[in-house]
């Protein structure tokens, strides 16, 4: 269970009022924290709990739910061979979160991609510009309300309908 995980216990101790949820599913541990504390949580995981490798930064769009976005960090501990997933909710009205670039250089490009495709801005990022789409692109393609076939076409209705 997630409650037995050393990292989860430690995070709950240190960030008692910021850990919103922790759960285990299919052997994977997920901790949801408030976005204001994300940098401190990641720093604690990196420096005190051995999660020294930032595997991935991404975001999920839960259109219709509040908060709309979830920024997802996948961390890996090379010495302990363990993974942990940290998530932070981000609302549509304040679509920003602190950048993890100061902790890992990996975050630079990964956060640029999240900004490009999902439209979440990262505060204190050294170079917050688009990476996959062209600089003059309008909109953020991975958002659920962005039409699959582009903004100027008939919406995609599936192959069978």
């Amino acid at each position: 269970m997630a409650e037995n995980n050393r990292a989860v216990v430690k995070l709950q101790e240190r960030f008692a009022d910021s850990v919103l949820e922790s759960k285990e599913f299919r052997g994977e541990t997920t901790v949801v924290v408030k976005k204001e504390k994300i940098l401190e949580v990641l720093k604690c995981l990196k420096q005190d709990l051995g999660y020294n490798f930032l595997t991935d930064v991404t975001a999920v769009d839960y259109l219709g739910q509040e908060p709309r976005f979830m920024v997802v960090y996948h961390l890996y501990s090379i010495p302990n061979k363990e993974r942990i997933r940290i998530k932070a909710p981000v609302t549509e009205s304040d679509c920003t979160i602190d950048s993890a670039c100061a902790l890992w250089k990996t975050a630079d490009w990964l956060e640029r991609e999240v900004y490009d495709l999902m439209g979440i801005r990262f505060n204190n990022h050294p170079n917050m510009v688009r990476i996959l789409m062209t600089d003059d692109w309008v909109g953020h393609p991975l958002r659920k309300d962005y039409p699959l076939q582009g903004p100027d076409r008939e919406p995609y209705k599936g192959r069978l309908s």
């Binding site: 599913f25 994977e28 595997t55 991935d56 490009w109 990476i131 393609p141």
Partner: protein, 390 residues
């Protein structure tokens, strides 16, 4: 008095040594690199967006086109993630076949790497030889899946079809002949003065920096970090195979070259062990709600036809939840993060591409070296733009 100024040079997107449509804006002081600004995205096809509108089976062919030099590794990462969500047990024969094909894929990808890397630095013979050997693996691919590159061979729950009759003989031929070919490459390169001068001390990145930049795969092992997901977080029964994980010392292009060469030899060892484990048996899990029925049943019974039609048209519902599955692809850690809301299509599928993250360290590796060394660094990173741009 002579004055100097920084020269800006555009390299790519159409440039033979950038291995695809990579564009680098290089700022040079004389011939010394001061700054590199990579521009990517020329091959962006929106695979992640497309997969949100397709059933789980329909996404498998899209994953072939990520790292098109190693399609089966991509298939494997994706189906393992889906199987983890569904909690499906895959039969032994399918597991072993997956390991064999996955290691063949590693050979195939590394052969392209050594071919192009050597050609970039000027050793053309190795290029011709390595492509000759790669053809053997391509033939096996064609024999097994029907396609040379876009294999689309694995299925959620097992394999798409039974292995061909001469599969073991073909694999055995590769296993028997390849180590000799690797000796040839080493004979041509390892003590070759030009090769040594171009690779030793080139593109040095320390272990701390490599971890900081998120580099994975042979490039990270070349910097002396002992990490391999096949051993550390085993999948597909890799814990039952005996293989070494090579690690470099000097963090340079030459060490990464040696790491990859040893990896190819280890892959051959894994295939040898797997061939012994390959026993007759079912190739699909006993999960009729997910797996396609056998073709005889589709052609000969109405129930089979309906069953096939239902899975092909609607797909299958996947329990609500989220999983991350990382596999040790030839280029590094390839991860699939799938979020399901209980429907037949994923809410979100995120691909963690190894080449994308590895490429972000290029400025760190190339700063202060000469422009021709940049070509060697692109080669040693072993990037594939299909995967970077997705």
């Amino acid at each position: 008095m002579a004055s100097t100024e920084i020269m800006t040079l555009n390299m790519g997107p159409q440039h033979p040594s950038t291995h695809g449509v990579l564009r680098l804006i290089v700022e040079l002081d004389g011939e010394v690199i001061q700054k590199i600004t990579p521009h990517i995205g020329y091959l962006h096809r929106g695979v992640e967006k497309l997969s949100e509108h397709r059933t789980y089976h329909q996404t498998i062919p899209l994953t072939d086109r990520l790292d098109y030099l190693a399609p089966m590794s991509n298939n494997l990462g994706y189906i393992l993630a889906v199987e983890k969500l569904l909690e499906i047990e895959v039969p032994e024969r399918a597991q072993v076949a997956r390991v064999i094909m996955n290691e063949m894929t590693r050979l195939k990808s590394h052969l392209v790497w050594i071919a192009c890397h050597a050609l970039d630095i000027g050793a053309m013979t190795v290029f011709i030889y390595a492509f000759r050997e790669r053809e053997k693996v391509m033939e096996l691919y064609e024999n097994v899946s029907g396609a040379r590159m876009t294999s689309n061979f694995f299925r959620v729950g097992g394999l798409s079809r039974e292995l061909p009759e001469d599969f073991e003989a073909k694999c055995q031929e590769i296993v028997d002949t390849f180590p000799g070919h690797f000796d040839t490459y080493e004979g041509l390169l390892t003590k070759n003065t030009i090769w040594v001068q171009r690779t030793v001390g080139n593109g040095v990145i320390s272990a701390e920096d490599a971890i900081d930049y998120g580099i994975t795969g042979p490039a990270l092992r070349g910097s002396g970090v002992d990490i391999d997901l096949r051993r550390d977080q085993p999948y597909c029964g890799y814990e039952n195979y005996d293989f070494k994980v090579p690690v470099g010392e000097n963090c340079d292009t030459f060490d990464r070259y040696q790491v990859r060469l040893i990896e190819m030899r280890e892959s051959v060892k894994i295939i040898t062990q797997a061939l012994k484990k390959l026993k007759p048996g079912p190739i699909l899990a006993d999960a009729p709600q997910v797996c396609y029925p056998p073709k005889e049943s589709v052609y000969n019974s109405i129930e089979g036809l309906i069953h096939h039609f239902k899975i092909a048209s609607e797909g299958f519902p996947v329990p609500e939840g989220e999983v991350y599955q990382g596999v040790e692809a030839p280029k590094g850690e390839l991860g699939f993060y799938i979020v399901s809301d209980g429907g037949t299509k994923p809410r979100r599928m995120r691909i963690r591409p190894p080449s994308f993250v590895n490429l972000s360290a290029i400025e760190k590796m190339a700063k202060g070296s000469m422009l021709p060394d940049l070509v060697a660094i692109i080669g040693t990173l072993d990037i594939v733009l299909g995967e970077i741009d997705r």
